[in-house]
Subunit: 227 residues, 2 copies
């Protein structure tokens, strides 16, 4: 469902071009559960943003569901993002003027879901991440780990086909992290393709496949569990 | 050097008051190395903000260096913060319009250090966290772990007496996290009091004392290493 061929992402930083990703090739099938690990600055978030259609490569081809993403308009890309992809951002990216439940309802607004259904589904997503007691708090009234969990609830509320999660347990204690990993196991069982970035070996070991990166390239790619 | 007596921090959230901290008492001596652990939402960041004079308690007394912080003016508090305390924020709080090195120089500007010295010291702090290659990047041009390390460099550049670090390795791979923990060991050896919040048991085990929190209160407080 995700096919990246010879993908490069270059930033012009004055004297020398900076290769955040360098001729990277990666294929992920429907329903797989992939963990991406690597050193700080190795290109993991850049890769996730490309897969999530939030950024375009400088070179290379990206086929999402067999469609060449490069040749879609910004509107078509946005439509795909809203219906197909759920994204948990490394820094959460919540809207500070909205409550937790309003933030979680936002993807459903874009999907044209009616108000009553939106409220029911957003409440359920917040329950799944243990935050029903904080539904009406705004992000500044939430702890770091609570904000992270709102970001997770927002990413799953639209039942996306692909869940991209950039360090989804980075701000969580081990007990709360375990609840999130159990939730991700459920999503995989429901057929969702889960791609997550993590620094935590224990989180990576819950996936079926571990991809390691360094300096914008993939250094290893191992299946640890059959699909 | 840090004495909190019966500290409460209450938020009025409509029907019932929310106790982020509830009658918390804690004493930390000069030069100690304390790790604070606890579930998401247990009050760790709230506690850190109080210790760092970024917030005031609703009740209770806080003596910093034997001075009652509650009775200082906002200006006096700001002066103490700038000279005595270095803070690594859970969400980094870098200024997006400034480069990494400009962000790190900021505490030195407040301390009245001349431009040449500021540049030398900020460069050194960025070297200490492995970021000399990213000095002129702005926060949006840095990875999550790089932003975290800029936040750490900024917190130590003024040689503070107390370093407060709210999950300082949360966005770092294990290798980079180890470099930061080694840096913190050096700071403790130089006599700096280090108080850090972490979800990572391995990070906590580097400290001399572990304080655990739940629901705004301290549930355990154990010395694991002599000072
Ligand atoms: N807009 C930009 N301009 C220039 N360089 C950038 C930009 N964005 C990212 N980079 C650089 O690209 C590299 C990869 O960044 P990326 O955010 O993908 O790393 P990462 O693997 O997610 O790291 P972390 O684990 O710290 O989150 C980094 O070295 C970073 O400095
Ligand atoms: N401005 C606020 N208004 C209302 N409630 C708040 C506010 N700020 C924090 N809280 C609540 O206070 C509690 C403690 O928050 P705090 O940020 O200290 O938790 P934490 O232990 O740092 O959690 P984490 O590990 O997730 O970062 C949380 O339950 C949070 O929802
Ligand atoms: Mg990243
Ligand atoms: Mg916190």
């Amino acid at each position: 469902v995700v096919e990246l061929h010879d993908i490069s992402r270059v930033y012009e930083m004055g004297e020398e071009p900076l290769y955040a990703l360098k001729q990277l090739t990666l294929s992920i099938e429907d329903g797989d559960y992939v963990a991406i690990m690597g050193t700080s600055g190795s290109g993991k978030s850049t890769l996730m943003n490309l897969i999530g259609c939030l950024d375009r490569p400088t070179e290379g081809r990206y086929l999402l569901n067999h469609k060449d993403v490069f040749h879609l308009s910004d509107d078509e890309l946005a439509a795909i993002r809203n219906t197909t992809i759920g994204f948990v951002f490394q820094q959460f990216n919540l809207l500070s003027s909205m409550t937790a439940i309003e933030n979680v309802m936002l993807p459903l607004v874009y999907a044209g879901v009616d108000k009553e259904q939106r409220t029911i589904r957003a409440q359920f997503a917040l329950q799944q991440v243990g935050l029903e007691q904080r539904m009406y708090h705004r992000p500044t009234q939430l702890s770091g780990g609570q904000q992270q969990r709102v970001s997770i609830a927002r990413a799953i509320v639209n039942k996306p086909r692909i869940l991209l999660a950039d360090e989804p347990t980075g701000a969580l204690d081990s007990h709360t992290a375990e609840e999130i990993m159990a939730l991700f196991d459920d999503l995989v069982e429901q057929g969702i393709t889960v791609i997550l970035v993590t620094h935590d070996g224990e989180v990576a070991n819950r996936a079926s496949r571990i991809v390691r990166m360094r300096d914008g390239q993939i250094t290893s790619d191992s299946r640890i569990r059959s699909k």
